[in-house]
């Protein structure tokens, strides 16, 4: 039962469906803890961030100066010259020169911060990605049982992507907008406090309206994500079953159903995007309206000669002041509407970041083991550790009193009253006791879910026991370092996972130091050499998409060869030959027997022909061992095994 999720390829193929629906939770409030944690990722870039901030400041000042300059230009350099017969432009030229320098600095600062921000954003993302992946490698297998592939994949795709957009684009824009707003605000105050007040009041109403529209678009985005998730999962399911559709002539029906879902998406997507699109022209128009109000009020003040109040005292309103103020007010509203435009993407990104951090906070696989596996040499019955590979392995066991003992690795596995449950309260294994002597072949027979696969999952400590003990060569496996424990176990699973790379690289997966010769021999042993030779580039053929060009049986053969290359003293074969036809299996059997000889082997199989020659056969039912013995003994007993063997009983 624990295999259900792992074996579900449908979820892995398309990750957009589950993730997009989860994105919709992004229309919440600001998440400060997440933001803080995200910022902590930028810590290494502290120096750059300071320079960036300074540059943004310079750039914002330059743009503020440019809008302020218009007033000076008109009032100080143009108006005084009006009516003059021989106007002197040297003053103007000087002012323009100063401005040119300011502009130059501003542009340079702009270039600098944009380029530095790229390094910061991409560097931060790289760190987050790498952390995520390293973290994933340390997570216990149970985590992968609880989460679909799609969920995990979407952390790397959708969530990281929204984060990239936020860091790379929104962040610098927000910083620069904030500076511009502050700078422009003071400039406006400098010209006229009254008009500034008008701008603030107008701004208040504008933002109110914007918030209303944003709220509306938020809820329609939720609807869009829902219909999209629905559509995506339908597409995925149907395209995966396309051949069945053809066989049953179900084409018209599925087209119709698709049309309904597609239409629902179209409607909601149209509404959601419409709201989002409308934001910008709306803010623009509201800005114009505000502009008119200021123009009218300003003109009224100038014409009526109302005393103006600037930040540095009172003066009278001039034409140039109004012109400048109007430009300023535009420069004030633009960054505000930019921030409100960014707001949605920031919240979405933070929601994604929150998911990423939650993933990183998952409890990792614990490993308190201290017994390690070392190369050893045996002389006169005394085992000593050696650095070079001798073919002999030993458990190096440091004790509390500071002494060290070495135990020869033999492959004796003992289960001592083991209880286990995947989910607390739902016991999967009851009081399992079994003993496997070095070199023995132990078979586990039982229906799917009877607990046979679970037993092997416990030996390599994918899960920890509820009660009881498992001993490996007399050592409690909890004391053995997981990496060393697993190094001593070769596992071949029914569901074969191959990695993108050449056949040779895949064979070498369990033992990087294996020579080509060793890999070839292992392939011959598994009867895989023949078909590998027929591949376009033989052992150098690149396998893609989990070896999709190969048949299931061929994949299993490669998987067996892979385990053979890693050359472990204990082997676990979980339905390892289930997809190989019986005739090929008979051919592989010789190699398998050679592979198993001298190794303790656990075999799980539905096909009883595979397990007949085992030293002990255990029949499992609902988490307990109900029968045990060798083939002859169990047949003689005429119990469950006998029934299974004669086909009177069903295994599923």
């Amino acid at each position: 039962m624990n295999k259900n999720k792992v074996v579900n390829p449908d979820l892995a193929q398309n990750n957009s469906a589950p993730s997009k629906s989860s994105k919709s939770s992004g229309t919440g409030s600001f998440d400060k803890t997440t933001l803080k944690r995200l910022l902590s990722y930028m810590h290494p870039y502290k120096a750059q961030l300071i320079i960036v901030t300074v540059c943004i400041l310079l750039s914002a000042l330059a743009s503020a100066a440019s809008s302020l300059f218009l007033e000076t230009l008109i009032d100080d350099y143009i108006t005084p010259l009006l009516g003059s017969d021989s106007p002197v432009f040297s003053g103007l030229l000087k002012a323009l020169a100063v401005l040119a320098v300011i502009y130059f600095v501003g542009t340079l600062a702009n270039l600098m911060y944009n380029r530095m921000m790229v390094t910061i954003a991409q560097g931060t993302l790289k760190t987050i990605r790498d952390d995520m992946f390293s973290k994933m490698q340390r997570l216990p297998v149970s985590f992968f049982d609880r989460h679909t592939h799609g969920e995990i994949m979407s952390l790397y795709t959708n969530d990281t992507d929204t984060l990239r957009q936020m860091i790379a684009q929104s962040m610098s824009q927000v910083i620069s907008s904030v500076f511009t707003i502050v700078a422009v605000f003071f400039c406006m105050l400098y010209i006229s406090i009254w008009l500034t007040l008008v701008v603030i009041v107008a701004m208040f109403f504008t933002l109110k309206i914007a918030a209303y529209v944003a709220g509306k678009s938020g809820s329609s985005f939720v609807a869009q994500q829902r219909t999209l998730a629905d559509l995506d999962s339908y597409v995925e399911e149907m395209v995966n079953g396309q051949k069945v559709i053809k066989v049953f002539c179900h084409e018209d029906k599925t087209k119709e159903e698709m049309r309904v879902k597609n239409k629902a998406w179209e409607t909601s997507a149209g509404t959601a995007n419409g709201h989002a699109n409308a934001m910008m022209p709306m803010m623009n128009a509201l800005g114009y309206i505000q502009y008119v109000i200021i123009a009218v009020l300003g003109a009224y003040m100038a014409i009526a000669g109302i005393t103006n109040l600037g930040i540095f005292g009172t003066n009278s309103m001039t034409l140039g002041m109004i012109a400048s103020f109007l430009t300023l007010s535009r420069n004030f509203t633009n960054p505000i509407s930019q921030i409100s435009n960014q707001f949605n993407s920031i919240v979405t990104a933070l929601a994604g970041a929150a998911r990423i951090f939650k993933f990183m906070d998952e409890a990792p696989e614990t490993d308190n083991g201290y017994v390690t596996l070392v190369n050893a040499r045996e002389e006169n019955g005394v085992i000593t550790e050696t650095p070079e590979h001798t073919g002999l392995w030993a458990w190096k066991h440091p004790h509390g009193d500071g002494t060290l003992t070495y135990t020869k690795l033999e492959g004796r596995i003992v289960f001592d009253h083991v209880d286990f449950s995947y989910v607390p309260g739902k016991t999967v294994l009851h009081d399992i006791t079994l003993e496997a002597e070095p070199g023995q072949k132990i078979a586990l027979v039982g229906a799917t879910g009877a607990g046979n696969t679970t037993i092997t999952n416990l030996i390599n400590r994918f899960y920890d026991l509820d009660d009881g003990k498992i001993r490996y060569d007399g050592i409690n496996i909890n004391k053995i370092k997981k990496a060393d424990l697993r190094r001593s176990l070769g596992v071949v699973l029914q569901e074969v996972n191959l990695f993108t790379g050449t056949v040779m690289e895949n064979l070498r997966y369990g033992n990087e130091n294996a020579t080509d010769e060793q890999c070839r021999n292992a392939a011959k042993l598994a009867n895989a050499d023949g078909f590998i030779g027929m591949l376009p580039n033989g052992y150098n053929t690149v396998l893609k998409g989990d070896g999709s060009g190969l048949s299931q049986g061929q994949r299993q053969l490669i998987s067996i060869a892979r385990a053979a290359v890693s050359d472990p003293p204990v082997m676990i074969l979980d339905e390892a030959t289930s997809s190989i036809d019986t005739r090929t299996e008979a051919l592989v059997q010789g190699g398998m027997d050679r592979l198993m000889s001298g190794r303790t082997t656990f075999v799980i199989a539905h096909r009883l022909s595979t397990v007949q020659n085992s030293d002990i056969i255990m029949v499992m039912d609902h988490g307990s061992i109900i029968e045990r013995g060798d083939h002859a003994a169990l047949i003689a007993k005429k119990g469950t095994y006998y029934q299974l063997y004669t086909g009177a009983f069903e295994l599923e």
């Binding site: 792992v6 390829p9 398309n14 750039s59 350099y77 143009i78 009006l82 009516g83 103007l92 040119a100 502009y103 944009n114 991409q122 993302l125 790289k126 990605r129 992946f133 994933m136 992968f144 995990i152 790379a168 597409v235 399911e237 149907m238 395209v239 995966n240 079953g241 396309q242 051949k243 069945v244 053809k246 066989v247 049953f248 002539c249 698709m258 409607t267 997507a269 149209g270 419409g274 699109n277 409308a278 022209p281 709306m282 623009n284 114009y288 008119v292 123009a295 014409i303 034409l319 012109a323 697993r486 191959l498 993108t500 997966y509 190989i580 008979a586 022909s609 063997y645 086909g647 009177a648």
Partner: protein, 583 residues
């Protein structure tokens, strides 16, 4: 490619054109408004006339409101028609996929079809929305702004003739430089996702072989490449904003200088020349012209990014099915006779590797045929030719005495029910799944089919019986249960020919035998073709075909084959070894 995509625009052509027109109107307002503003300053404030200020103020307000209306309207229309366009594209692709033959499906692979129907469509939707709103708006805004600027001051506007090409060339160079880099980045992204996916799926393998560090190193290598490339590309893009700023500042300085001189010369009199109000307007237009260029470069970048999505979608739309209905098709399959007449078959026309080689076989209506053979012996390929899921390459295949290529596809497939090796159940109730076989099946018929397939017993133990919900991919029923449901589904077709492609492998031998027996008893007139790995599943068959490497190695009954076929005997012995000793 573009033409293929445009065919799907259909009823949204109107909306797209409306958007374009609305955005042009929007631009007109954006141009007129600064003009009004300069008039307001010149005639209102300068003249000290409050009535003029009011006049222009109200005109301005009206324009602003009109701009609001057109802007919001165009936003919604654009969103609707681009969503509609995307929906049409998706539907057209999906409809086309439904016409595909198996060979077409094989060529594209499932995951690539799914990506085209989901991610690629979304990319096109976004690109289209941007295109109809911006692509026209940008140039129009630029042309309008230039015209108005020239009408204000010909001399000063000459500045633009220098600034625009400079900026345009700069932006073009950036986009051109960035393109190949981003293409590479997207490829690397695929690689990254692939590594993650392989690791998520194969986490047990990674842990078993202690390859965590190896995988982390692999991943870090790829993420480093993404970092390097992405940073390189974005650093280039970072030139955009300062470039634009530099041009704008340069324009402003020049306009200020030239403008000041012109105003002084004219005495700030509109009749004689440039005024201060017009100077303000000129600067606004300068900004607009440069912004519109920026917009164009964004559109350009967006199009290049979505170009690969477009070509992928077009590819799927342009694909024509390898198997189509003949003209004047035969609508009825008379009986279950099957005749393979020296049939050769290859999967791809380019490949010369024969999957089936000179198959000559006659099956009489109502007969039970067993097919056995090793992995890769082309058993499945052989039976997939019968309902014309693939076409023969050489030779001929007839069903009911008529060449399969002469039948109406639906009629043929209605008469030939096939349970595929990799079979799928769909999310929905058991009943809904069974009704795939026959939409109009009555409850009694459904129960009958389930009884024949030995599925009724376990269905009856389920809490909701026939209304039990099946999860996507049928993950909540066991392998054997799934197979029996698939058989029942096929039986509901009441076929003339029933093909089971290794469909009882997860069913125990006893139940298997019961199913076989009920086939013989209750559907005696149906031709039954059974592919199996277990000899016991086919031993009773009237004829047994032994396949080896795409050829028929032997044909005969169980007893005959034990004598005549080495392969058959070997298989038999490998399965019988233990039991013969003990029984």
């Amino acid at each position: 490619m573009i033409r293929t995509l445009f065919k799907s625009l259909c009823e949204h052509k109107k909306g797209s054109i409306t958007t374009v027109i609305l955005s042009i109107i929007e631009v007109v307002f954006e141009i007129i408004i600064p003009l009004c503003m300069s008039d307001l300053i010149d005639f209102g404030i300068n003249e000290g006339s409050m009535s003029e200020v009011w006049k222009y103020g109200i005109v301005l307000l009206i324009f602003a409101v009109l701009e609001l209306i057109t802007g919001v309207l165009s936003a919604h229309v654009a969103a609707r028609c681009s969503a509609g366009f995307a929906a049409n594209l998706r539907q057209d692709m999906y409809d086309n996929v439904q016409t595909f033959a198996f060979s077409n499906i094989d060529r594209f692979s499932t995951s690539s079809i799914v990506t085209r129907l989901t991610t690629d469509v979304t990319n096109i939707q976004n690109a289209w929305q941007m295109l109809i709103r911006m692509a026209v708006r940008g140039p129009v805004m630029m042309i309008f702004s230039i015209i108005v600027s020239f009408s204000i001051s010909k001399d000063i506007s000459l500045i633009f003739l220098i600034a625009i090409p400079v900026l345009a060339v700069g932006l073009f160079l950036v986009v051109r430089g960035v393109n190949p880099i981003f293409k590479r980045v997207f490829k690397t992204y695929d690689e990254l996702n692939n590594v993650v996916q392989e690791n998520v799926k194969g986490i047990r393998v990674v842990k078993t072989f202690n390859q965590q560090d190896h995988e982390i190193t692999k991943f870090n290598g790829i993420s480093k490449r993404i970092f390097t490339d992405f940073a390189k590309g974005e650093r280039l893009i970072a030139f955009n904003s300062p470039l634009m700023q530099a041009c704008m500042y340069a324009c402003m300085l020049l306009i200020s200088w030239l403008g000041a001189k012109a105003i002084v010369a004219s005495g700030n009199n509109a009749a004689l020349g440039l005024t201060t109000g017009e100077l303000t307007a000129l600067i606004t237009y300068a900004m607009q012209i440069l912004t519109s260029l920026m917009m164009l470069s964004m559109v350009f970048a967006m199009i290049t990014i979505s170009a690969s999505s477009m070509s992928r979608v077009a590819e799927l739309l342009d694909e024509t099915t390898d198997i189509r209905n003949p003209e004047d098709p035969v609508m009825e399959v008379k009986n279950g006779n099957i005749c393979f007449d020296h049939v050769d078959f290859t999967y791809a026309s380019t490949s010369d590797k024969k999957v089936l080689d000179d198959i000559h076989l006659t099956i009489r209506s109502g007969e039970t045929v067993g097919i056995i053979g090793g992995t890769g012996s082309s058993k499945s390929s052989l039976v997939q030719l019968i309902p014309r899921l693939y076409d023969v390459t050489e030779g001929a295949l007839s069903v009911g005495g008529v060449d399969v290529r002469k039948y109406d596809l639906e009629a043929l497939r209605g008469a030939v029910a096939m349970v595929l090796q990799k079979n799928e159940l769909f999310s929905g109730t058991i009943k809904e799944n069974l009704c795939w076989g026959n939409e109009n099946a009555t409850d009694d018929e459904i129960k009958e089919a389930c009884r024949l397939a030995c599925a009724d017993e376990f269905i009856n133990t389920l809490p909701d019986g026939y209304d039990t919900h099946i999860d996507q991919g049928g993950t909540n029923v066991s392998g054997g249960q799934k197979q029996r449901l698939c058989i029942a589904r096929a039986l509901l077709r009441k076929p003339k020919i029933l093909i089971l492609d290794d469909s009882t492998s997860a069913v125990d031998t006893k139940t298997d035998a019961v199913i076989q027996k009920s086939f013989a008893e209750f559907i005696p007139d149906t031709t039954k073709i059974i592919i199996a790995q277990r000899i016991s599943s086919i031993a009773h068959a009237g004829i047994i075909v032994v396949m080896d490497g795409g050829r028929i190695q032997a044909v005969g009954t169980h007893d005959e084959l034990l004598k005549s076929s080495d392969i058959y005997r070997e298989v038999f012995e490998s399965q019988q070894k233990g039991s013969a000793d003990n029984e």
